[in-house]
């Protein structure tokens, strides 16, 4: 049976997905739901290929590493299948471990430009409607903590700040009035008023 092949290109990198449509699901002939093989070709670097069970972890490794690269001083990712370490901010070492025993791991050095090409190829695959693969949602969901903080900051500040400012300004204003208050003078005035009222009553 002839297999379908889909290629996702980005500058110096191309990702080829080979497989068959799932006819039991009434899929079109150009769909790929049963992936038998995939190949990641990087210009001037050895070919990386594997089976469906390797594709998910490798995609996840690249997504997590790209996230670490932006937020971390010394990004590093390690798993059973792939390790990614940074030499410096410009170069990264990929260590691809073979599942076969006694075979040496493949080490590939890539720069930032190739790394972004690879991530973009995986993005294209993730967004493709023709390939039935478990979509990586590492970047799609905003963490709940962030969602909460954004909304609550906006609402809480709007709700609590105006009355808080008004109470503070009232306290400040009334405390300044204390400077004008002279208790001795107040007492004398009060006595004077009292004496006047007694005199009037008589």
């Amino acid at each position: 049976m002839i297999q379908n092949s889909l290629i996702f290109n980005q500058s110096s990198v191309s990702l080829e997905i080979i497989g068959l449509p799932d006819y039991s699901n009434n899929e079109n002939n150009d769909q790929i739901s049963i992936i038998s093989n995939w190949k990641l070709t990087i210009i001037n670097k050895p070919l990386i290929e594997g089976k469906i069970e390797h594709l998910g972890p490798i995609m996840e490794a690249f997504y997590i590493y790209s996230n670490l690269l932006i937020n971390n001083e010394s990004p590093s990712y390690e798993s059973k299948l792939i390790d990614i370490h940074s030499d410096n901010l410009h170069f990264h070492n990929l260590v691809l471990k073979s599942s076969k025993p006694h075979s040496k791991p493949l080490i590939i050095k890539i720069g930032n430009s190739l790394l972004s090409d690879i991530v973009n190829c995986f993005d294209q695959l993730n967004e493709s409607s023709k390939v039935g693969i478990k979509k990586s949602d590492i970047f799609i969901n905003t963490p709940k903590k962030i969602k909460f903080s954004l909304k609550t900051n906006y609402q809480l500040s709007n709700f609590f700040l105006p009355p808080l400012i008004s109470i503070c300004s009232l306290i400040l204003f009334s405390s300044t009035l204390l400077y004008f208050y002279d208790p001795v003078e107040y007492k004398e005035n009060k006595e004077l008023i009292n004496s006047k009222s007694i005199f009037n009553n008589q």
Binding site: L89, G111, N112, V119, N120, E127
Partner: protein, 111 residues
């Protein structure tokens, strides 16, 4: 950081809109972003692109940002700003897909 006397906080809708515009622009400018990143990888071969980019970046910061602010001074600092620029370029280069704005939003929240 900008040269402005108003200190208005950005609204959530405005933040979303800006993120979408930035992601769309990075999609369009990806070949240039890639070239700039590549020129920094091998400085002996080609430093012209990186130097031109840095020069224009400085000009724009001087023109539009409040250069008395410490954060802006850090952006203009020769020794410190390379890392900030590379991280920013990488962030943009990772956000060129159709759902790039969601990625960009996440990167900005984590920053």
């Amino acid at each position: 950081m900008r040269k402005s006397y108003l200190n208005n906080n950005i609204k959530l809708e405005e933040f979303d809109a800006l993120t979408k515009i930035t992601a769309e622009m990075s999609k369009y400018l990806y070949p240039y972003i890639r070239k700039i990143l590549q020129s920094k990888e091998d400085p002996e071969k080609n430093t012209v692109i990186w130097n031109d980019f840095k020069k224009r970046f400085k000009e724009l910061v001087n023109e539009r940002f409040n250069i008395n602010s410490m954060r802006v001074k850090k952006l203009l600092n020769q020794t410190e700003n390379d890392e900030i620029l590379i991280r920013s370029l990488l962030t943009l280069s990772f956000c060129t897909s159709n759902k790039g704005y969601q990625k960009l939003k996440k990167f900005l929240f984590d920053f």
